[in-house]
Symmetry: C2
């Protein structure tokens, strides 16, 4: 996928290139809050703040995982799961596991040797609060915990456990998140094209967001072993929302303030980071985000009828990701 391919998509209606407003939808709003609360409950269950043996480590892990956030990845797991009538117990564990990997990546990204950030979700970052060594170890332990959550004695069929571990590992390692983060660090300061950014972000943030969708689909029995229409549609959807998420992040870094974002605004420019805004300009970046949203939703239109009917939450999440204000 290249920037120009997305911008030239015939499916992009002219109106959609303007900044939009998230449509009011009480049913979605209810679903959203219900599932964000469910994410929090799962975090509290699997990452309790108190533990008799190594209390400091558990406190740091809980701090990193429980301090909030939009829970976009768990929401994608659940929405994809609804689309394919997946089992709730497996979905809950998959949703929690991707959020744990996301949380560990934030802790490590914020460390002084990486982005050196002191503010996250309006709170001191984990290393500011607990010291660098504990933050490093808490991140490491959160990554291991994700695989522990995916491999319970009961609750999930063993073959599905293996499939979920495979999807998560591939999305978060050298070919996914860690590889993208490396490209990001190496690119800081140099001029980068929009296509290079897509290449980098499809790994750095896109891979885990896409994996969230695919893990939800896997919980309903859809995976590469069944390369059906459903799988392909959800994969295309996952690719597009994964990229859209980062484009909007870059836009908000320029247009929103630190209070609304809960993290330091304007930091990309300050650090001379290449972003979609610096590479394409603000208008084209907005156009790209809307184009990706439309691409995601067009993919859902190709689902077989029963799943298309059950894809409403995925459709609404694509709106949320592109039209959010923080």
């Amino acid at each position: 996928m290249t920037v120009s391919e997305v911008l030239q998509l015939e499916s992009v209606p002219p109106g959609s290139t303007q900044p939009g407003v998230l449509p009011l939808n009480h049913s979605f709003d209810h679903w959203l809050h219900q599932h964000q609360a469910r994410a929090q409950q799962l975090i509290e269950r699997f990452v309790p703040p108190e533990h008799p043996l190594v209390p400091q480590l558990h406190e740091a892990m809980h701090y990193a995982a429980a301090m909030g956030g939009k829970r976009v990845r768990p929401l994608l797991v659940w929405a994809a799961g609804e689309c394919v009538q997946a089992d709730d117990q497996a979905l809950d564990r998959a949703a929690c596991a991707v959020e744990l990997v996301h949380a560990y990546s934030l802790v490590h990204d914020d460390l002084p040797c990486m982005d050196d950030d002191v503010l996250r979700r309006g709170q001191p970052t984990t290393h500011v609060r607990f010291g660098e060594a504990l933050a490093l170890l808490a991140g490491d332990a959160l990554q291991a915990l994700a695989y522990e959550v995916l491999t319970p004695e009961a609750d999930i069929a063993p073959a599905l456990q293996a499939r979920l571990c495979a999807l998560l590992a591939r999305a978060s390692g050298a070919d996914g998140m860690a590889g993208g983060q490396t490209l990001d660090i190496l690119a800081t300061g140099g001029a980068v094209s929009g296509d290079d950014l897509m290449h980098m972000h499809s790994r750095k943030t896109g891979a885990l967001l896409k994996a969230s969708v695919l893990m939800g689909a896997a919980c309903g029995g859809f995976d590469t072993a069944h390369p059906a229409q459903t799988y392909t549609a959800l994969e295309t959807y996952g690719d597009a929302v994964g990229l859209a998420f980062q484009v909007v992040d870059d836009i908000l870094d320029v247009t929103a303030d630190s209070h609304t974002l809960g993290k330091t605004a304007g930091k990309d420019a300050q650090q001379n980071k290449s972003t979609y805004v610096s590479a394409l300009g603000l208008d084209a970046a907005r156009k790209l985000a809307h184009g990706l949203r439309d691409k995601a939703q067009a993919a859902l239109d190709t689902l077989p009828p029963p799943q298309r009917a059950a894809s409403q939450r995925l459709r609404e999440l694509a709106d949320l990701i592109v039209l959010r204000e923080h």
Copy 2:
């Protein structure tokens, strides 16, 4: 398990408390070199140094994983696998995965915010060679890769993949390696008893060594779902060699030189670290190491006859771990 329990074991013959010499055994020597070479081949296969997309990250991962070491954890996987007639393909992947987790833990332990070490296996540590950010990311990616190696499309039955992921995750997270490392960091500088050290090291190094034995056993179909005589014996063996390994590490830090060790000798005392030698004295630490070796080998004597006959490599590895000189 406490220090005094081990030292009072009736099974400890009087002669075994003296420093020993590894008995010459050409068959074991051949097996050892053959399997160390196999570990290296697997590392080269799963962590190739060259990769077109993010070359720097892959180079750092390869450097960290391939630079040598005794490969004790893979050797334990294979030896336990021989004991239960396990499948070779599963064993190879399990052996590689534990070594990748071990390699990632060394990279992170050596970082300036942790042990701040510049020399490992006679070479500059990963962060000295590649910078802190890349070392951090290489460690993170190696951890993810371990789960990728355990969850191939073919080669291992899905239920076994899930079981191996479960064992590895529990051994390396907050209740295992990362928790033990936290206790170690928090304890530096304070007086610690021998029993506290056992408690800490049973997690820091013991958990992954024990998991290596259990993963080998799992490849032959033995796990907690079949809590048979075989499983219990191998678990006791794993606990004992896991602890013995660290006791001997502490002894060698005092008695060997940096050249032989391939890392900075005398560093524990320099950093005011609590070790078995500082807590118990050199003689009692040696006695403890030998007691643990005897305990490990006594556990193998309780195996059912066909497995007892096939446990020779495990027996010899216990000797190797206690009688090694680096």
